[in-house]
Symmetry: C2
Subunit: 632 residues, 2 copies
């Protein structure tokens, strides 16, 4: 049997044997090694590149690889078969990142969000308690069982009538009490007349921790907070390890339907993504995972199903019915989260198969449900979701923008991570000026950079309104009837490979921006409004704070409105989840808001398809919708 | 590394490698192969015999093995070290037995028990339901999530306000509904205005199953019952796989205290004992383990702790404090039982560290708590527990009789299983006549056979009141100052080995019977009664229905009372557990009974030790307590 040595970018190495002819992507996946494969391994995306370092692989040159790249040893894992011993280099896809919260924008954003919600009357008291308990040790005169002794002490302290002791505490009870000389800290949740004990700790350990989680299709973030005072303790984020099962929710649902798929997809998000993040965040904060007593998860409907392990097949098939919108009573131990097993896992409520808890959490955080102004809320990540309205009504829809804004479907696309081009300007000589995250050499384009580059190419007349490249120059190449515009030559890029935007990429971008624009247009029409009626446009999500509103308007993605009405509001899903982690009332408010959002199914909306087709043009087939273009 | 081939009596074979010099008992244990080791492997009991078939083992002749046995290859696993390749035969210790319930005594006993309890006013209604539910499939006009659709249908059917869907149901919900065309059976428990869904099945599967479990220190039995009508569905019993960690609770608690011990001891009872029994009982009954919605476990306090995985160390140390007497809210999934994960596991309440739920279940089943007569209830298994009283009061105690009555501490002792001598008579020529369970050749002595043999040896003058062998004959041997009485020569026995009762065995038996007699005496004295005040003596437990009351009195184990007052009442623990499985009210009644039992700690009782020493004599130092002996 041939052996493959997988050399991870992190330095880790793994040697695996396999049957001759086995597919390299499947092999890596089965060994728990993540290789980015947004198309789920069907050869469409060209992202699952690995580099052959020793030996050989059976893999023909691919249309996704230049001749130089092939020469250098780059292969697509999904097209490579292992026939003899070899070693391959596997680029890092995960990049666990520590988010620095100290005095940062995030810290301020979380504080503001909470203050805003408190101003709208939501209480941030919560029923979690850390009770110091000192008991007499048992003796011949009082030989009551430990559980009874503890119950007695807690009842006396709190005046409750019942104390519930879960299995996880009971099994360690005798030891914990004796190791601490019967002086302990009892952590738990008070529910009326009942105290639900969740953890029994040494007397010094009194921290009650809540955890907000944003499970994005592409990126996952966790934030730990002190439930007693709301202080942010730590945060961490990384790529969703489900990426190797496809970039979008549909591919992942299909993979979930395979034998063992439920466990595999759930394992990817729980064991390979959340648990490492939780361990990391706990280490940073100096708390034990056992201290985490409550979670709130903001995720889209499909991600929610994959997370809890619920069969999601019906979500992708007409009439697009999920198993749940809202579901109470989920515990950390049901999911195997690295936390107190009794911790409640609250899911931000979903309102449709394609408008999920990430959006309702976002709407909660923006407080648009409590304002007189008319707000337009856009969450542009792998999927685009849009909610319009204010205090009187809310209406929402999802548009299948595709993953372009998070770097998917774009040949040199990548997430907004170090190495990503987040901002581009271009002079008339077509020479691009790039701003790269982390200040490194460019490795690819993230959403905001993509929009900038397209806008600049359009402004400088390199591309026409259909997205065809119509100028020539040192940065334009044409091969096999397909033109591309090079924004970094191999000697300029961080990867040593050419970075370019192809006409196919431009097609994908135009369809994505058209999906967003036409969704906004259809939503406005449904409530008989025009862009002029909108007071604020709130842009959130993975598209990133680097987004240039000017450029997004100039390519016809956002309506041509006064620029001062646009606000980038950050990761509102995480903000909303944070509020609901801290406050049961915030969760109940979010459920009320969710129930109040009318869900508009675009695919069955008359006029949507026409609106979409008319928007597949830079900026639009109807130029009168973009008057400011003519003013510049 | 040397290899050992373990050839199990069942025919199964296992080859394991180990470090040279590794202990064979520990090795077998770590590989999940059970070898009977009542003394927990400290060389005291001589029970862990294996037979060397090939190669060699480093094991010196043992005082527990005759020269012939050693010659034949028999070795004690606890004293054998593996130094080179070998193969050993491992006798069966488990013997999973199917209890035949059809028209049997058990069936009648269960029915009578239930009728008795119903007569005392306990309702056998229970809140478990199997609801047939037919729903419309979702469509564009009604695209509600599956969970909402199901909740709606159940609310309509039952008029409840809330339906709780557990994680185990939610993950399969979409598939189950679609596979059954939205016509299903919803099983669960109604709690007031809430329906707790526990399983969603095909519409034809409407069986609601309850499971009563008797976790004895030596033997474990399960009974499945139909929760709708109380019908017995099936039953099975086998040895407790914890036997390899010691015959008595103290040895096992010590082993639980070792690193990994909690998991090991829990694994032995759950994975190696209960789950095979449950699978077997389900197969017999033709039901799926998922249908088991409620358990009731009757077990002594230590067994309860080992079962749930609770640290039991404090039970064996002064002041003998357990973690719990009573504990609600335990679920099958907490224990990993092969059943519906949401099934409640009710533990029959304990009342002291050494008087447990097996006794309270037994007291419930006998209905002595509801009778005017004065009853004396004796449960004689590995431990002896005694409860005295009636409607007005109940008082109980535990006596450390040791495992003699279940075959422990006796050189040729064994459980009441096929091959066990259960009845012995002896003529004046000292020739024994044996009745063997299963009609086979004898393999050892069970409790009732042991009492018979001792009584006959005493009656025929072979032994004196101190238990010394004072006659000679072809069946008496003396070696190294120790005499023994052979009840089966090698050519008569089923094992090919001599079966005998030694003076050490007689010492152990005398101490065991003295413990029981003095406990009864002390208990009576505590409430100022004499044996004449007792109306009924109810004998239950592992000592078996073969017990001869006459012989038990003649050796001075039971008080010399009119024989018609004695009743063998069978496995009352299992009977009580069965009643509590069927009826929540029976469980509540058992808790009230348990609270009403005064616990007498014998070790601190003045006079107990004197009473015990006076009883260490056949039948007693005070012959006036056994007047009937002089009448015969």
């Amino acid at each position: 049997m041939p052996k493959v040595e997988l050399r991870m970018q992190s330095g880790e190495r793994k040697i695996v044997s396999c049957e001759p002819g086995e597919n390299l992507l499947a092999l890596a996946e089965s060994e728990g090694v993540s290789i980015d494969a947004p198309c789920s391994g069907n050869g469409a995306c060209g992202k699952c590149r690995v580099r052959l370092v020793e030996g050989s692989l059976d893999a023909a040159p691919s249309r996704h690889l230049s001749a130089e790249a092939y020469e250098q040893g780059w292969r697509l894992a999904c097209e490579a078969r292992v026939t003899q011993d070899c070693a391959v280099f596997v680029p890092d896809t995960k990049g666990l990142q520590v988010l620095d919260l100290s005095g940062s924008r995030e810290q301020a954003a979380f504080g503001d969000c909470l203050k805003d919600l408190e101003n709208s009357g939501i209480s941030f008291d919560n029923p979690f308690l850390a009770l110091p308990i000192a008991m007499e040790a048992p003796n011949a005169d009082d030989p009551a069982p430990d559980g009874e002794r503890l119950t007695r002490a807690i009842r006396k302290e709190l005046g409750v009538s019942e104390v519930r002791i879960p299995h996880s505490v009971m099994v360690q009870l005798a030891r914990t009490l004796r190791e601490n000389n019967f002086t302990v800290c009892a952590k738990g949740e008070r529910k009326g007349n009942v105290f639900c004990l969740m953890a029994l700790c040494a007397p010094g350990d009194q921290t009650l921790v809540g955890c907000a989680i944003d499970v994005g299709t592409t990126t996952v973030a966790v934030v730990l907070t002190d439930l007693a005072n709301g202080k942010l303790l730590s945060a961490a984020s990384c790529a969703n390890a489900q990426l190797c099962y496809g970039a979008d929710v549909i591919h992942r649902i299909i993979r979930q339907g395979e034998p063992g798929g439920r466990e595999r997809l759930q394992g990817a998000i729980v064991d390979k993504t959340l648990n490492p993040l939780l361990r990391d965040a706990c280490r940073q904060a100096g708390v034990s995972p056992q201290s985490i007593l409550r979670f709130c998860v903001a995720a889209n409907t499909a991600m929610n199903h994959l997370l809890v392990g619920a069969d999601a097949q019906s979500i992708r098939m007409e009439p697009y019915v999920p198993s749940f919108f809202r579901w109470d009573g989920l515990l950390a131990r049901d999911l195997g989260l690295c936390a107190n097993p009794e911790a409640n896992v609250v899911l931000s409520p979903n309102i449709g198969s394609f408008v999920g808890g990430d959006i309702t959490a976002g709407v909660l955080a923006t407080r648009m449900w409590n304002r007189e102004e008319m707000s337009l809320f856009l969450d542009l990540g792998t999927n685009g979701e849009i909610v319009l309205g204010g205090r009187d009504y809310l209406i929402g829809c999802a548009c299948s923008a595709g993953p372009a804004f998070e770097g998917g479907d774009i040949s040199c696309g990548m997430r907004a991570a170090p190495g990503a081009v987040e901002h581009v300007t271009m002079d008339d000589s077509m020479e691009p000026h790039l701003r790269v995250i982390g200040g490194e050499r460019p490795a690819g384009l993230c959403g905001s950079g993509l929009i900038d580059l397209a806008a600049e190419l359009f402004r400088t007349g390199v591309i026409n309104p259909q997205g065809r490249i119509i100028r020539e120059g040192s940065r334009v190449r044409r091969e096999n009837g397909m033109a591309r515009c090079i924004f970094a030559h191999p000697w300029e890029s961080g990867t040593g490979q050419e970075l370019s935007l192809t006409e196919t990429d431009l097609d994908n971008l135009i369809r994505a921006k058209a999906a967003v624009f036409s969704a906004i247009e259809t939503l406005l029409k449904a409530v008989d409004l025009t862009p002029e009626d909108i007071d604020r446009v709130l842009v959130a999500g993975g598209i990133g704070s680097g987004l240039s509103i000017e450029n997004a308007i100039s390519i016809g993605m956002l309506p041509d409105m006064p620029r001062e009405k646009f606000f980038y509001v950050g990761n509102t899903s995480l903000l909303g989840a944070y509020a609901m982690t801290r406050s049961h009332e915030a969760y109940r408010q979010c459920c009320r808001v969710a129930e109040g959002i009318t869900y508009l199914e675009l695919s069955t909306c008359p006029g949507y398809m026409d609106s979409f087709l008319a928007a597949c043009f830079l900026p639009h087939t109807d130029g009168s919708k973009f008057p400011s273009r003519h003013r510049t």
